[in-house]
């Protein structure tokens, strides 16, 4: 799409673009370039000397069982967060689309967790699930569950999944609700006249028409689980116990900031960048299809 009417100036457009380009270059391209550069270097502990080592940092990573384990952890975590988040919010949105009375009240309650910072969400759930004093721990103990996420890896994973899903439901809910409200009522009414019940209408009309929204949310939720959940993890498990919740982003931070392994951390950053680029490409190909749709 192009504008038919444009202005002419030899210098003005560059001046208008300058602030954004300056920030983009200083804070995006320069650091990203450095990440790629460092990923091919081996630095000594004080950062005084570095030598070019080619792909050594990368091969070392893929030989490191902790790194491969972190891939698996990330896969389990992001699939759980995206799957649970999408299913629960689809259910809530379908229900909210049906109600007339109290719709605004339900909507208001359901969207506010979007405003909660990931780290705060983590603290809230860690408090309720605290092994000795948590209110939910108390209920679980009453049910005979031995709950202690500080020493049990699978429970720590469950905790960060719950906190992350809780925070993301609002977002998914709003998109599903917008998608549901865009479905022409005449389609639903026609199916009802033909004798299709609510369940049948949902599976054969509503769900197929919502599938673009669901696919879009799948990509967004995976990106969310990959990157934005850093705050949840740092505020609760910090990757533990025994790396049971150390997702890729947390490992970049842990190795780079806490262990000061610049080369290894940068190589991990480069791998993450490749993953983000792949996800962005998938997302944009999908959006092109949606425009024709």
């Amino acid at each position: 799409m192009e504008k038919r009417v444009v202005f002419r100036s030899a210098w003005l457009p560059y001046l208008l673009l300058a602030p954004q380009l300056a920030i983009t270059i200083i804070f995006f391209f320069w650091p990203a370039g450095q990440a790629v550069w460092y990923s091919f270097q081996l630095q000594d502990a004080f950062g005084l000397h570095s030598e070019f080592v080619g792909f050594d940092n990368f091969t070392a990573l893929f030989r490191d069982p902790h790194y491969l384990e972190s891939f698996k952890t990330t896969a389990v975590f992001s699939v759980s967060v995206a799957g649970l988040g999408i299913v629960i919010s689809l259910l809530l949105a379908t229900m909210a689309d049906r109600v007339v009375r109290g719709a605004l009240a339900y909507k208001t309650v359901l969207i506010w967790p979007y405003a909660v910072a990931a780290a705060v969400a983590g603290v809230l759930w860690a408090f309720m699930f605290a092994p000795s004093i948590g209110i939910i721990t108390y209920v679980l103990k009453g049910l005979g569950v031995d709950w202690n996420w500080i020493i049990k890896g699978d429970q720590a994973m469950l905790l960060i999944v719950i906190a992350s899903v809780w925070k993301q439901i609002s977002y998914n809910f709003l998109f599903f609700l917008a998608g549901l409200q865009a479905i022409p009522k005449s389609l639903i009414e026609a199916a009802a006249i033909d004798g299709a019940g609510p369940a049948r209408r949902f599976w054969t009309i509503v769900l197929p028409l919502l599938s673009p929204t669901a696919f879009f949310l799948l990509v967004v939720n995976i990106v969310y689980a990959f990157f934005e959940t850093f705050g949840v993890i740092d505020a609760t498990t910090q990757g533990g116990p025994a790396q049971a919740t150390q997702i890729l982003v947390y490992k970049v931070y842990h190795d780079g900031v806490k262990s000061a392994d610049i080369g290894g951390s940068s190589a991990q950053s480069v791998i993450l960048m490749i993953i983000v680029i792949a996800l962005t490409v998938i997302q944009f190909r999908f959006i092109e299809r949606k425009v024709q749709y």
Binding site: K3, V5, V6, F7, L12, Y14, L16, L17, P19, Q20, L21, I23, F28, W30, P31, A32, Q34, I88, L91, L92, M95, R98, V99, T108, V109, L110, I111, W112, A115, V116, A117, A118, A119, V120, V123, L124, W125, A126, M128, P131, S132, I133, Y138, I150, W166, I169, V220, F230, G231, D234, A235, V252, Y253, V257, S265, S266, S269, L272, M273, V276
Partner: protein, 282 residues
């Protein structure tokens, strides 16, 4: 509603009520805990009705921080968070409305190249360039400064896209009329484009306010000085050890203070919030 189905209506409301209760429960527990004394929280199970320490806990965190963890006053942190939550949307709106105006309303060499340069920043979230960005900030002397907290967050492809998309819908006749009347590009920008963009700006503001307020990794990296902590970082610094060593009443009071401003923005500006959320993702 297509037909009357009382049973289904009942199930609908039941699901929504259960959903709403589960979603709201953490907020309620947080509020209750922020009004209790530490001893009351440590009794298992903790009381589920508000206690009488509301003023005590909140004034303690606002002016004195926690006693076992970070002693920085939360009031200062709230000011830092506010600065960040306002600077990010203002900076973002300013630089992206200018750059998208240039891209939409001018033809100039390298135009597409610059557009793609902005576009690819979508693929470089802060999280993947932690270490090198930190080094860049240290080299520029921006650690523990407001500029360091906000500048790297204000470049965004999404805002530029949003304005570009909106500018494409402004009728060409307006620009034509402005040109015939002898208005230059900047006159057209101020008198036509900016007033028309107000709703887009409001929507963007709500989303970016929340984004700025809730930043975590970035302030964690570049603030080592307590006086520069944002409130989200402050909560983390109050957690010092095992679950019984923490002053949960104070942590929960701080959590309430950290949640209130963005929640108020979402609830009071719900219309702009929904518009901003749905449109920035297009």
């Amino acid at each position: 509603m297509v037909e009357k189905r009382p049973l289904l209506d009942f199930i609908t409301h039941a699901v929504l009520i259960v959903g709403a209760l589960v979603i709201a429960f953490p907020l309620y527990v947080t509020f209750v805990a922020s009004t209790l004394s530490l001893e009351e929280i440590m009794t298992v199970p903790m009381p589920l009705l508000p206690g009488g320490h509301f003023i005590e806990n909140y004034s303690q965190v606002l002016f004195g921080g926690s006693t076992t963890g970070s002693k920085a006053a939360v009031l200062d942190m709230l000011i830092n968070s506010t600065v960040m939550a306002l600077a990010v949307p203002l900076g973002k709106t300013t630089i992206s409305i200018l750059s998208s105006f240039a891209i939409v309303y001018f033809r100039f060499p390298l135009r597409n190249f610059f557009f793609w340069m902005i576009f690819v920043t979508l693929m470089l979230p802060v999280e993947v360039r932690i270490i090198p960005t930190f080094k860049v900030m240290a080299d520029l002397g921006l650690l523990n400064t407001y500029a360091g907290l906000t500048l790297p967050l204000i470049a965004s492809a999404t805002a530029t896209f949003l304005f570009r998309q909106f500018f494409m819908t402004i009728p060409d006749e307006l620009a034509e009329a402005a040109r015939i009347d002898g208005a230059g590009p900047m006159r057209f920008f101020w008198d036509v484009v900016v007033p028309l963009s107000k709703t887009t700006m409001a929507a963007l503001f709500v989303i970016q306010f929340i984004y700025g307020w809730n930043q975590y990794l970035w302030p964690l990296l570049i603030t080592s000085d307590e006086s520069m902590y944002t409130v989200v970082i402050g909560i983390k610094r109050m957690i010092v050890g095992g679950d019984s060593a923490n002053e949960w009443n104070l942590i929960m009071a701080t959590a309430m203070l950290a949640m209130l401003p963005p929640a108020a923005v979402v609830l009071l500006m719900q219309k702009w919030f929904v518009k901003g959320l749905v449109e920035t993702e297009k």
